[in-house]
Amino acid sequence: MLVLTRKAGEGIIIGDNIKITVVEVKGGNIRIGIEAPPEMKIHRQEVYDRIIQENKEATQWKLADLNSLSATLTARKERK
């Protein structure tokens, strides 16, 4: 991993179209500004990891579950 030391107001350029700026350093927090093309996906690491984990867990189902759930959910809708 490339490690660089930056002060508030300083930045990093990645490739031709990504610019990262350290906006503010306060307490234990660092505010980072990112300029990148709109099609580039930018996520907080923990949010991204949680979604990958949830997608993985979502593949662990059984056809029998789907059948029994469908009956429950249909009954629920009729009750509404």
Binding site: P38, K41, I51, E54, N55, A58, T59, W61, L73, R76
Partner: protein, 143 residues
């Protein structure tokens, strides 16, 4: 018609009706094509089977079955990725997680946008939203 293997046996499908994820789903970026399977039982759930990996299938639902107000609009770059033209609309679907004991939650923090005109879909991440990756179903008052 073509056939593929799934965890639930062999499936016959129409290649023209395959759902295409140009970026895959998060964590499954290499899986691009899915067959949409109608559920045999009546109800809001259906499932999609990967054409490329027999082990991978997801249960999906239209979230407005449970949360009427939930609506996700694609931004300009998402519209481009979906190959949508002016005036075309997308539908929103969510991945359902079936937990031990049969409880289900909806991943409403990372919905799927689906362009009906060309069968393309995209999983998007709602960064600034109160919706959870494990949104529980709203409680229903019994009459």
């Amino acid at each position: 018609m073509k056939t593929i293997q799934s965890r639930f046996g062999q499936i016959e499908y129409d290649p023209a009706k395959v759902l295409h994820f140009s970026e895959g789903l998060l964590g499954f970026e290499s899986l691009r094509d899915f067959v949409v399977m109608a559920n045999v039982k009546e109800g809001p759930l259906f499932w999609i089977q990967s054409c490329e990996d027999p082990e991978i299938a997801f249960v999906l639902t239209d979230p407005t079955n449970f949360y009427l107000e939930y609506k996700v609009m694609p931004d300009t770059s998402e519209r481009t990725k979906l190959g949508m033209h002016e005036g075309e609309v997308s539908h929103t679907l969510v991945v359902v997680t079936v937990h031990e004991g049969g409880k289900i939650t909806l991943n409403m923090a990372a919905p799927l946008l689906y362009s009906v005109s060309n069968n393309r879909a995209l999983q998007v991440v709602l960064e600034k939203s109160a919706w959870s990756t494990r949104q529980e179903l709203p409680t229903v008052d019994a009459k």
